[in-house]
Symmetry: C2
Subunit: 659 residues, 2 copies
Amino acid sequence: LNEHMPADKKRILANNNIKFYTIDAVALAKEIGLGGRINTIMQSAFFKLANIIPIDKAIEYMKGAIYKSYGKKGEDIVNMNYAAVEAGVNAVKEITIPADWATATDTQDADNGKPAFIKNVVDVINAQDGDSLPVSTFVDNDLVDGSFPLGTSKYEKRGIAVSIPEWHNEKCIGCNQCSYVCPHAIIRPFLLTDEEVAAAPAGMKTMTPKGKALEGYKLFMAVAALDCTGCGNCAQVCPAPEKALTMAPAETQDDQIACWEYVTALPHKENPMGKKTVIGSQFEQPLLEFSGACAGCGETPYAKLITQLFGDRMYIANATGCSSIWGNSAPATPYTTNHKGFGPAWANSLFEDNAEFGLGIYTGVAHQRDRLKGLCEQLIAGGAKEECANAAQAWIDTMDKGEESKATSAALAQTLSSCDCSNDDLKAIKDEILNNKEHLVAKSQWILGGDGWAYDIGYGGLDHVLASGENVNVLVFDTEVYSNTGGQASKSTPTGAIAKLAQAGKQVKKKDLAMMAMSYGYVYVAQIAMGADYNQCLKAITEAEAYPGPSLIIAYAPCINHGIKTGMGTAQAEMKKAVAAGYWQMFRFNPTLAEQGKNPFTLDSKEPTSDYKDYILSQVRYSSLKKLFPDRAEDLYSKSEAQAKEKYLMYTKFGKLFE
Amino acid sequence: LNEHMPADKKRILANNNIKFYTIDAVALAKEIGLGGRINTIMQSAFFKLANIIPIDKAIEYMKGAIYKSYGKKGEDIVNMNYAAVEAGVNAVKEITIPADWATATDTQDADNGKPAFIKNVVDVINAQDGDSLPVSTFVDNDLVDGSFPLGTSKYEKRGIAVSIPEWHNEKCIGCNQCSYVCPHAIIRPFLLTDEEVAAAPAGMKTMTPKGKALEGYKLFMAVAALDCTGCGNCAQVCPAPEKALTMAPAETQDDQIACWEYVTALPHKENPMGKKTVIGSQFEQPLLEFSGACAGCGETPYAKLITQLFGDRMYIANATGCSSIWGNSAPATPYTTNHKGFGPAWANSLFEDNAEFGLGIYTGVAHQRDRLKGLCEQLIAGGAKEECANAAQAWIDTMDKGEESKATSAALAQTLSSCDCSNDDLKAIKDEILNNKEHLVAKSQWILGGDGWAYDIGYGGLDHVLASGENVNVLVFDTEVYSNTGGQASKSTPTGAIAKLAQAGKQVKKKDLAMMAMSYGYVYVAQIAMGADYNQCLKAITEAEAYPGPSLIIAYAPCINHGIKTGMGTAQAEMKKAVAAGYWQMFRFNPTLAEQGKNPFTLDSKEPTSDYKDYILSQVRYSSLKKLFPDRAEDLYSKSEAQAKEKYLMYTKFGKLFE
């Protein structure tokens, strides 16, 4: 406390005769057997200290409530909670406030390497002192147009996880799946040369990765210890025969902090595997990191993967909802830039018009790029030097090809800027091209949002945008409920699921948004579930981006609102179960195949192998309906199961429509 | 002119030394061979009289323009138009204004039988003198809540048709198809007893209808000569071996005016055939008549038919668009009431929320009726007299059955109001039921609008309402273009069609709204085209209304915006051609069948038998693209044809998804 507590808080405590207590509820909960659940301990500590009712009475009431809630679950559960009540009462520890706190002052930080923007704006706002910022701060930091710099979340170093992954290099098989699924981009594989390994801080262990492409490298699985939220999905999905990742107390992994700093500061290396495979994709830098999403979030792994594939030339229109919150929890921005300074441009619009917002951005950019094309054609027709004309033509030939246009854009800019032009007209054209060179690389336009946006409030616009035939990519984080907005059922909510504001359970079935979009024929459509099939997920995202028309990907996203009984650390496993139970269907509809005379539809889900009701009852959003309305629940569960079976059966036949 | 011109206009002419001319352009156009096209004649008459450029020059310019426009179409067309120019110049006739017009006064109308509302409000507004109406007029005529009385269009008697149908009783086969398709409800079959025939005005001819149900009746096909717009669809569709209807000069049919007045004033007769067949449906009074729709409108026949089937218990929420204009061209209201005073309740909401508006009306009514049910249950439980309790129970048992509830509602109201109740509590309940008796009969909730509403601007809401599972019926007048709004392409516009504000032709294909709605599984969906299949049309509307969930009917509606080269008099024939060419698909998707273990999908269109391109090129919206962009046109025509073929093929397989 002496070391970490800010001086102004120390002074308040000391100068106001305030009583000050701590309790290590996390350790107690673990010891008692309650895992991460500290609520009962904290509640009884509150009653002990607040003394609003005599503590004996409070204990009696709390125990009574525990017996009522958990009596049916058996004596063990009840006793654990009784123990938690006792612990809360007995383990509070009063802190004697040192006299010198009354006059405490913060030692001035040495220049800690933080950019001015972080020190002058972000830290101030995070200290809840944003109101003190004068207008000049916003002017000086270039914020007057409303834009915020990228890549600021990495300075937060919240250190909120109790347990974080510990990597066992000797057990690792180098599959990179831990990195693929990590919602916060805190675990990443780095390829190091022997020299780099030799110069590394203590605590770095490595393994020798397989495969010709990685020859000569050592692999280090870096963990951002202070950015991890401790969800545990990485360890859960680890397929190594003996787990290569286990969750360890955070304080045991302190040596990883320096390792992380070391590897992330190393010079950029080209990805030797390319990004077309699950393993290879993880050698790309995630351009979404350390967001404000919940631990174990089912949404962020999708967005993160997209930034690994296209983030350096990506524009994002983001609907209101969870993704607009974790996408920009001001003042921190989790979208970030690569070694060249390129990263996603991100903005949020309303629930009701985000698809249109994205189409508008796309259209604006398309016009700018058409203008550049015209300028290049003028250069060529106007008799520019051969090297300039060639570079202009090479750019025109590739201007709509995302990856290829990177090289031709760079070459064009380089050629034009080094050309010593004697013709004033041509020079004016070249200058105009160079002044607009940010538009040279083909952009990847993405439109992101949840099911509340895509199925409901923004659907009219989404449909209009998909119908337009323009080259935009839509990804729906389908949590099957309005998550951030407070828990209303959406048209994506399946029969029988409850929501916070729809406690009687959804009566009508889930809307088939994919089917509706497929009816256009010229819209790329996919349903994916990352944890169920990493390859299918990657393939769908890659195909969608490559398709030169509108694309819609609907991604199953487990959410804290589901009440997954095994916790959000099993979010990825939950997706696998959802597909195995026939709860979620994976498929891809690619109009490009139809143009080639092939069947555009591929059903990627296998026939369900596990019990549907077992699956849904493993989530509180379904199981709690049983407690509230037992008869209705049984009826709706059966309906829900029958609908899922019908849907799968229908999809097994769907491809025949195109034969 | 002496007889018909209002006195105030006469005085203006006489007192201001105004020159006054007439021209019988209609007769001239017919004589020259231009049919109903009087525009060239009127244009040259204008130049002759306005003298803004020397008339010789004007004639030269007009003829030059004619040669440029029609030169390619051959000498005959050019000469006809030259003749029209000459006629306009030469046939204007100056009227010498009688001296007594300077002091003309209107002879006061005798009481002409018009209701006070017509005389005091409608006629005043129609004379463009609405601004003179004081607030007290609105108060006195009960208009302060914004509602207007039904059935006022029949007082307009516009007499705008040049030709109207003449019925040849001896050739008639009594099929009632003329009445079925009439957009303005001006031709209707009446069944008369011999006594009624004997007392009829001169000019009434009758025939003896076939069939046991009609035994003893004579059939008279009445024509509302002054309400007809002269479109000619009735004569066009007449299937009698020798046409039983021909279009005759309006002035030859004056004797039909009295016949119409006579038969429409006869006492109501129950429909002896019922309304489940095309013939039988036409013995029901249309509760939509003499609307402001264009001659030959493809929309109104659908709405009119629905009012014949359910109009006496029908609520309509109407989207902005043509149907909101012809549905209520203030001050005239074409929706009307039957002999009992029952008719559709109609209101218009916005483009963007009409489906929700309709659902709101439905929900409000459902709550009122639930309350009535509760009151009836209280009556029964509270020990009401046996006859009251029985009537209440009979109503509860049928309360959601449209036709049956009419009788039980009337019986309940009758029983309760004649009951002399001694129990104060029961009396209070009865009074409350009687005070709300307008809610007793089960209502038929309809939501009407065009494709601009349903496919585009209102689609988000429409989708939400269909997804709700509530018992509302949606009918889309699909003109494939924003008609009333000014001619924008909608998502319903097919590939290759132009619109006033989309002259380059639609690039992407027509949205398959039906397919999207069918994806829910619990929405009744049909595509219909009246002129192609009268029975399928009637069946779909009847099934949709009977289905106790949401229903969506998409009705192909020819429109003046299509530029049908044979004119709007062939609107019904155009629908037949559309289906034969594979341009439009007819089908029905009935979830009730699925519940019974049957296949819910029925494709009603036969395999196309005629040429697709011949069909589209018979309409200016397609053919004009060829003139503007010949290459693009060929490409889009071929795409359009391929898409239609693909769509039909897909629908032939669609039913297999449910096997």
